[in-house]
């Protein structure tokens, strides 16, 4: 049997529905006249499993799993990792440092741009965003290590 995209998707959503049921153990279902906190999640999880089964069963005509184009996965992974590092650092280093480093990282590591040009661009754009949000719109931005 050829493994297809909808087979994987169907199995994933069925598993997710089962996980939701497992996590809902302590939530009371209640009764129809007095619905509990667990009624809606369990009903929806059941519906999701049924729909996922339909996707799985009808998956024979979907795209072959091997035919899905993952050529952008390297780009996606690098962007996710650098953004995750930026999020992790945001409250520690503050807005100016984190955003400058985030942009610089994306430009140099992912895009292989000239280091000096990337540094100038990152700092200039971060300062502009700082002025726009922090000064013009008075949004409280994280200060972190810097004093302003």
């Amino acid at each position: 049997m050829t493994l297809r995209a909808d087979h994987i998707a169907g199995v994933f959503f069925i598993a997710l529905g089962i996980v939701v049921f497992a996590l809902s153990g302590d939530l009371p279902f209640g009764s129809l006249s007095s619905p509990g906190a667990g009624m809606m999640p369990k009903l929806i999880a059941g519906l999701m499993i049924a729909l996922a089964l339909a996707v799985l069963v009808g998956g024979g005509t979907s795209e072959r799993l091997a035919a899905i184009d993952w050529s952008d996965r390297g780009h996606a992974l690098m962007v996710v990792l650098i953004t995750a590092a930026g999020i992790f650092a945001y409250q520690r280093l503050g807005f100016l440092l984190t955003m400058s480093l985030l942009m610089f990282g994306l430009l140099t590591v992912v895009e292989r741009r000239n280091v000096l040009r990337a540094a100038l661009y990152s700092v200039a754009l971060t300062l502009f965003a700082y002025w726009l949000f922090g000064k013009a719109l008075k949004a409280p931005l994280e200060r972190g290590l810097l004093w302003f």
């Binding site: 939701v20 996590l23 129809l32 809606m40 999640p41 996707v55 962007v79 953004t83 985030l102 990152s122």
Partner: protein
């Protein structure tokens, strides 16, 4: 009619204030840019820029955000015509004949027809909105919990029926959204649901982090810079005027697209996208020269452009009159109104007339502004497309992070955005449309509350939905749509045929 006219005058007195005009202008300019730039659609644009409105009152906020929405419909046509890259999904059909016109040396005329078509359709949409929304809101004031439950069920079924993917896949995404919407404290019993000890999850998962993740970050992850080209030729101003024959050929498609787009716009689903597909198919079907489609047919630009703009305006009717989001963009706009303490729905017109009528009036002005902006400044906007995408998307990611963080000053929200960026990327790979997920997330609290209240009211009897005429009528329509979907699944689906027609071009 006099009341509507007087109220509209009140709206214009609000919308013509210099400060409100300024924010309408900013929204239109930003919307045009959002529509033009690949990798950032109206939903991500509005979500990212939502924090900019926190210091504003509700009227200015909604005027600016709505300006971004309908401005993006205008902007999307520019990249479609000049680059054959749809800046946003609704402009896909414009690519076909718009770009063919550009290759035939008629880029300016195509841009002008797209802008005028958008203006006419947008203005038509606002006029009908002005007339339809107040009586519809008055009618909806009589709705109780069972009617709202039935209305939301109908909304979900309509969404699935109109979706470009299959019924089961759309409903599956909506179910996932509804499930995510149950995270947090249960408002009726105080139980914590799936919060895993994370305090921030007690308030549930926000719409903004999910929307920015799925539609902003997810799109950027799937778009490596090497895939984005920017060989742009900007037309000269004197080349913008279409010939008399081109005006003649575009008149009726614009009229048809306006009516069709508005009607589809008020139905839940990706209306502005679907309306442009259907308008293109319709124009091709009734054309005396169908063989011209794909080779630069004026009707292939005028119809879809008018339809997607009218649909954008039509989508505001259920939002303003019923408090019902018809798509993810409208859902985020609803969230924006709620953040500003203005609940959208039937009570909006009576409780906040300045916001409602000011917003409606601003749409008349916004459409005119966009027409005046887009044509003379097309060269300026096009120059922005020359910025390499590799330099653009890090900036967008920075705005995503700031935008999401500033909503609640919560780093958990930013992590949620990143997770949903990955989810959006995966969904794209597996051919799932994430729009129903966002819609499910938005309506989950209202749906759960109205369903449970209905059951409590009826002492646990499901027949309450069949005993109330409006609820019964809404459920019958839902059942009819489900049956129609099942029948169409057995035969060859019209959506598939539409896609094939588009692909064959």
């Amino acid at each position: 009619m006099d009341t509507v006219f007087d109220s509209l005058l009140l709206g214009f007195s609000v919308a013509l204030r210099p400060d409100v005009l300024w924010f309408a202008f900013v929204g239109c300019v930003v919307g045009t840019l959002v529509g033009m730039l690949p990798g950032i659609g109206p939903l991500a644009g509005i979500s990212i820029l939502l924090p900019l409105t926190f210091g504003l009152d509700a009227t200015k906020a909604i005027v600016m955000l709505a300006g971004i929405y309908y401005g993006s419909q205008y902007g999307g046509s520019t990249t479609s015509i000049l680059l054959r890259i749809p800046g946003e999904a609704a402009s896909v059909m414009t690519c076909i004949d718009g770009n063919a016109m550009a290759k035939n040396g008629r880029a300016g005329a195509a841009l002008c027809i797209a802008a005028v078509g958008s203006f006419v359709a947008g203005t038509f949409g606002v006029i009908v909105l002005t007339l339809v929304a107040p009586p519809l809101a008055g009618f909806a004031l009589g709705f109780g919990s069972p009617e709202y439950t039935a209305l939301l069920v109908l909304g979900l079924i309509f969404l699935a029926y109109m979706s470009t993917t299959s019924l089961t896949r759309t409903l599956l995404m909506a179910a996932l959204g509804l499930l995510l919407g149950t995270i947090g404290i249960d408002m009726m019993t105080g139980h914590f649901r799936y919060s895993f000890g994370i305090a921030e999850l007690g308030d549930g998962i926000g719409i903004i982090p999910v929307a920015v993740g799925l539609f902003g970050l997810g799109e950027l992850l799937a778009t490596p810079s090497r895939q984005v080209t920017s060989n742009v030729t900007s037309p000269r101003l004197r080349e913008l005027l279409p010939t008399r024959e081109e005006w003649r050929q575009s008149a009726m498609p614009i009229a048809r697209g306006s009516v069709l787009g508005f009607l589809i716009g008020i139905i839940p689903g990706s209306a502005h996208i679907i309306s442009s597909f259907i308008s293109y198919a319709l124009e091709r079907r009734i054309s005396r020269q169908p063989e011209q489609f794909g080779k630069g047919a004026v009707a292939g630009v005028a119809g879809p452009e008018a339809a997607n703009n009218a649909a954008s305006t039509g989508a505001f009717v259920p939002m303003l009159a019923l408090g019902l989001p018809t798509g993810p963009v409208i859902a985020v706009l609803m969230a924006a109104l709620l953040i500003h303490g203005v609940p959208p729905g039937p009570t909006l017109i009576n409780d906040h007339p300045n916001v409602f009528w000011g917003f409606v009036a601003s749409m008349y002005i916004g459409n005119l502004m966009l027409l005046l902006l887009n044509l003379p400044l097309v060269g300026v906007f096009v120059n922005l497309l020359r910025i390499p995408y590799a330099y653009l998307y890090p900036l967008i990611i920075m705005f995503c992070v700031i935008g999401v963080y500033e909503v609640n000053h919560s780093i958990v929200d930013v992590w949620i955005m990143l997770i949903f960026g990955g989810v959006g990327y995966a969904l794209k790979k597996f051919g799932f449309d994430p729009a129903p997920l966002v819609l499910g997330l938005v309506i989950a609290p209202i749906f759960e509350m109205s369903l449970r209240q209905s059951l409590i009211m009826s002492d646990g009897t499901w027949t309450i939905f069949l005993e109330r005429p409006i609820a019964l009528a809404l459920l019958l329509v839902s059942a009819a749509l489900l049956t129609l979907s099942a029948i169409s699944m057995l035969g060859r689906d019209w959506r598939g045929r539409l896609k094939e027609a588009a692909r064959s071009e």
